[in-house]
Symmetry: C2
Subunit: 470 residues, 2 copies
């Protein structure tokens, strides 16, 4: 009985301590949210990035503009240091506006359809590629077909994003393989080109680009994304005339690598300057529009951590480091450069948070860490962030860029905003500033800053005594 | 010790029972969400409502169109019964497009600014009202001024919605008093008209209308909303020329009451047909645009409960009744008519859920019920709905329409979607179909249907044995 009473007493003390901490923290976090919403400064920075460095694909002059302009904002917002970290990046250029047609004498059809080259694809010959079409609905279907039917053809990968999947990033994960790997698969069977249904949530009229891959052992064939609307049209036409021809012409190419930069800014820790919390988004964007959600929002979310800490006079005990990664979209060279450097910097990375899922209202964060840390974060941080709608830490995984720190950093996490609208704009011409709501953007910045605040104050669940350093 | 062991055992059994129920329910609820997202039917119904019955203010022919068209959808979706419930509604008409000007010889200014009459306001004389302007920032400030300075003037209520408030409905509640009551207050001091800053989240160029009130003991004076942008302009001009004049002209008027209808549809309960769960939104909308978020979304959310139950073969044990209320915006006559009828219908209303906060991604539901029921709903329903992002039952209150059932219904609740964008469009010309994202809309429908499913299955926490009827 005594033991049980003691246990009760202990739990009681523990819970009152946690509750007290949550009250104090919720006041500070409320200030972070209110300040972000009231000042709206991140939205102005996003405007600058989108309107002055819109098509900032790696290796482009606009990517340099983005580096320079965001450095200015970080200095203006009071970062203790701002520096540029060199990295060599791929230099893929789109060339002229792509063209494509569905051609069928049976259907009296000679219709232009919207396509765009997939990132890193080779271009077509000068007069394009014209061939018959084989339609499949995802990777792995070609092996069931007669190889003779594929040879010399264009393979049309028409697998849709499943609309019934609630968390749209899961639907994306389900579908994106055909964008990345289809040119390799189709080439193995002797196809001459690949047309891939855009990975998009809706039937719309514009193609969504994105990275594709080649393998040095297989002949490279050109690959384009087709708008979902045109994909439906092509599929319908194929049902009526399986011998129709598809023609497309691209002039994209990969030029020699170019010197580029990550932008790095920090507030030095007052107590443990050698312990680092990284927060980052990627500075490059596809050349389709303005990269507002992907990943202007993440850039702004990250930079605002410094602004909000400075405005509110929060003096972190650890070093808070913002890293704006170059080249996430087609190489992650910036992330690799940072990770290599970090491994030799003599610092201790305690957490790395990434925002690369759009400027929508935050719901929570993913976690890639030990079970003990998940329990720690979920029981300790989730309640206070939940009041602000950002306390969902239930999903695993994270970190296209910060994932490279996994070896040296025991807690990797992604901001997880509401995902319903993301794939309307992802890698497409509609990813523009006007599609970002300032309040939703600022809520995301506040959520990231609040998580960083808690990590700085309480550690990552494995510091010092193994239970956080409260 | 024995007692404690017994308690542990009891808690154990209880929790395993709850966990099992949650597993079964989460499968059913996953089907509800997937079906809503896949079928997208609600979005088509919303299109019909917005594009064929856009400016469906109470008493208008378009309000009748809305009644008829939504009845057709409810029949198509398989409601057991669909009927129209009569109610007399106010018939306020806007008249000609409103005009307004800021006039200052000092500032060489004679500038048109966007205004609109507030709902239920009287109009101005035929040549408008022209007078000097007194600016205040909310209700109650006039009493501190010299009454002689107010007499014969136009009072300009320029209190902004506080941007730092996270849940925007709280900011709205903080501000909307000056829209509703300012004409009464200003008239008491001898003012001749009222100009009210639009209750809106942003600085934008269009006025946001909404209801205002009069009191029979005080002279009625005309009242208009001015766009937030023009409110800033007027305020700036007043700082430079406090003697400037404001002119506005409206021709709105209130005609005799008109016969209108609530649309009521239901699935009869298989086991307890006399026990009713009401779910509703309001069918009328302001005459500024299409009432897509306010409250086309709520209409669709409610109607889809029937569709989703029918498609998925869910046979409720209680009667599920959809009520599309007429006249929420300027009188709540539909809600009153339903409540009066319900009090004499001999039924038992066990819950009433309203959706009137837009077609944005759902976060949860408000609760207006006993503490014991809140505990019941939060502990039993919240975990399973949280997986779908709709498990936040932390807020109190609810029910502009279903609130009239409070006397006879022990659980009142509002769907609480993400609130960041709502007051961009509320009562303004931008509240159009195109501003609704279909996935966000359907997620809301699924959340409402899921809550209804749980209430039907487990009761409202005070049924039969007092702890739900599981």
């Amino acid at each position: 009985m005594k033991k049980i009473l003691f246990l009760f007493l202990f739990l009681n003390i523990l819970s009152s301590k946690i509750i007290f901490a949550q009250n104090v923290d919720s006041l500070q976090i409320a200030k972070i949210f209110s300040t972000a919403l009231k000042d709206n400064e991140g939205y102005h920075a996003l405007y600058d990035l989108c309107k002055h460095a819109g098509k900032r694909i790696s290796g482009s002059p606009l990517a340099d503009t983005a580096v320079n302009r965001m450095s200015v904002w970080l200095k203006k917002w009071g970062a203790d240091t701002v520096w540029l970290q060199e990295c060599m990046v791929p230099h893929w250029v789109r060339g002229e506006k792509e063209q494509a047609k569905i051609i069928s004498s049976v259907l009296k059809m000679n219709e232009s359809v919207p396509v765009c080259a997939l990132g890193m694809s080779i271009g077509t010959p000068a007069d394009g590629i014209k061939a018959g079409v084989i339609e499949v609905h995802g990777m792995g279907e070609l092996k069931n077909l007669n190889p003779a039917d594929i040879k010399g053809k264009i393979v049309f990968y028409n697998g849709p994003m499943p609309p019934e999947t609630i968390f749209t990033f899961n639907a994306y994960g389900h579908t994106v393989g055909q964008r990345w790997a289809s040119a390799m698969e189709a080439s193995r069977y002797g196809a001459v080109g690949v047309v891939v249904r855009s990975v998009a949530s809706h039937i719309d009229s514009h193609p969504h680009t994105g990275s594709m891959g080649y393998n040095d052992t297989i002949a490279k064939i050109p690959s384009v994304a087709i708008s979902t609307e045109a994909a439906e049209k092509l599929s319908a036409a194929l049902k009526k005339d399986k011998n129709l021809q598809f023609w497309f012409k691209t002039s994209c190419q990969t030029l020699p690598d170019v010197l580029s930069h990550n932008v790095i800014a920090e507030i030095k820790g007052s107590k443990y300057p050698n312990e680092v919390i990284v927060v980052g988004g990627h500075l490059d964007a596809w050349d389709m529009a303005e990269g507002a959600h992907d990943d202007g929002a993440g850039v702004v979310h990250s930079m605002e951590v410094i602004r909000l800490f400075k405005v509110l006079g929060i003096k972190p005990q650890r070093t808070i480091r913002v890293v704006l990664f170059m080249n996430e979209e087609n190489g992650t060279r910036g992330a690799k450069a940072y990770a290599e450097w970090a491994k030799t910097s003599g610092e201790k990375h305690i957490a790395a948070i990434e925002s690369d899922a759009g400027g929508f209202t935050p719901r929570g964060f993913t976690l890639d860490c030990s079970d003990a840390q998940k329990f720690y974060v979920r029981s300790k941080f989730s309640p206070v962030l939940s009041y602000f709608g950002a306390g969902d830490f239930s999903r695993d995984g994270g970190g296209a860029d910060v994932g490279y720190l996994r070896d040296i950093c025991p807690l990797i996490s992604d901001l997880a905003p509401d995902s319903q609208r993301y794939f309307d704009h992802h890698h497409a011409e509609t990813d523009v500033f006007e599609e970002v709501n300032d309040r939703e953007l600022e809520m995301g910045a506040a959520a990231v800053a609040s998580f960083v605040y808690l990590l700085d104050k309480y550690g990552n669940g494995m510091e010092r005594n193994g239970g956080g350093d409260e």
